[in-house]
Amino acid sequence: MELKIRNKSMMASGEKLANAEEQLKIINQSSGIPSFDTKLESSGNGHLTSGKIEIFQVNIGKMCNQVCKHCHVDAGPDRREIMTKETMELCLSALASAEMLTVDITGGAPEMNPYFKWFVSEISKMGKHIMVRSNLTILAANGFEDYPEFMAENKVEIISSLPFYKSSLTDKQRGEGVFEKSVAAIKILNNLGYGKENSGLKFNLVYNPAGAFLPGSQSELEKEYKRELLKNYGLVFNNLYTITNMPISRFLDYLISSGNYEAYMEKLSISFNTVAAQNVMCKFTLSVGWDGKLYDCDFNQMLELNLNHGAPSHIKNFNISLLENRRIITGQHCYGCTAGAGSSCGGATA
């Protein structure tokens, strides 16, 4: 069954699954699958606990120019939740007070936040490494023409989704015409040096399956992508990251409506990989929501699983010593990060 055609978010459509509680009810009732915590303990990993925070991931808003059918954020042009300058200032204070070396800016389309450039410039002044998760099409959209150059000037690493190296599956997942616009945006980035050896401008692509199956070998897919994109469009990039679709939000809706939900959850659980479980990104990441609330990862953020276990739950109470070595909040969706070769915002983990 094909993914639903969407032109607005689940939230704007008033769909029940837009609600995080409704999603959690379904995910945590998966029958016949051991609880993630039980699985983790039986594999000898014990409770998940964070270590030193290396990545400070900030979701600066759910507004986006695309309405991708698998989006875990339920982002879209109708979403108005974006981070204020005041909350960004709290993030900057937190960054100044701790050694976190990398800032990972995501959304929605983070570029659509009116304070995006200011925020990036301020972080850049601190000498932190900045990553921006850009959907590509925004970089070629009206009013954003100068953004690629701005990112290059600030040595921003760009990470972008491109579910396939052909238009067929990319457009099916991300919307009609997205592949063509993405190719145009990558050309702009390549012309600035992005994705080219020794340019100092990193440009990575993200593959995620266009359906209810796990991604294949990251290195093999990277070879295919590099060969095909160069041969057909003259495009280059640095690395391909394979990311497993999480059973939340729009992808959860697809799994249920296509009758794939139970089988997909079973596939995630039987593919549990101990090595991937040891390398999950939440161990070294702190995720900040558009409203300043703190989470273990962007997925927990979308499920509104706010930090607890004694760790501060809002950026205004940022305290590095309470945040490092915090107990991570887990659920059945966590199987998505530990299945097969593992999955994280930086791709495979095992």
Binding site: F164, F213, G216, E220, K223, E224
Partner: protein
């Protein structure tokens, strides 16, 4: 209705080892090595397996290698072309035997 083929049986494949564990181990090791990337990519090997699965008409293999082809980055277009290759060989194999028919016909007919 009961059938000989049950999709759930695919996950029981490894139970075949019970009768002959050493042979199963040899098969598994060889199977794993066959499908690892070599002169052909993992995607190309999955597509060959998918085509062969159709030629031998194995429902388990069709299910498994459709999933495997998708996971290795193949799309519907590539999978369909692979099946056409298998079908062309199956059809061609019948048709090429027409040469034997012609030989017999030539020999017997005036």
């Amino acid at each position: 209705m009961e059938t000989y083929y049950d999709p759930k049986d695919l996950s029981k494949f490894a139970e075949i080892s019970e009768g002959a564990p050493e042979l199963w181990k040899k098969f598994s090791d060889w199977y794993g090595a066959v499908f690892a990337a070599g002169a052909l990519t993992e995607r190309e090997k999955a597509l060959i397996a998918l085509a062969v699965a159709h030629a031998v008409q194995c429902p388990y293999c069709i299910d498994a290698y459709t999933q495997e082809s998708l996971a290795k980055g193949a799309d519907l277009e590539q999978m369909t072309e692979a099946i056409h290759v298998a079908s062309a060989i199956r059809g061609g194999a019948s048709l090429v035997h027409g040469v034997q028919m012609k030989n017999v016909n030539t020999k017997l007919s005036m």
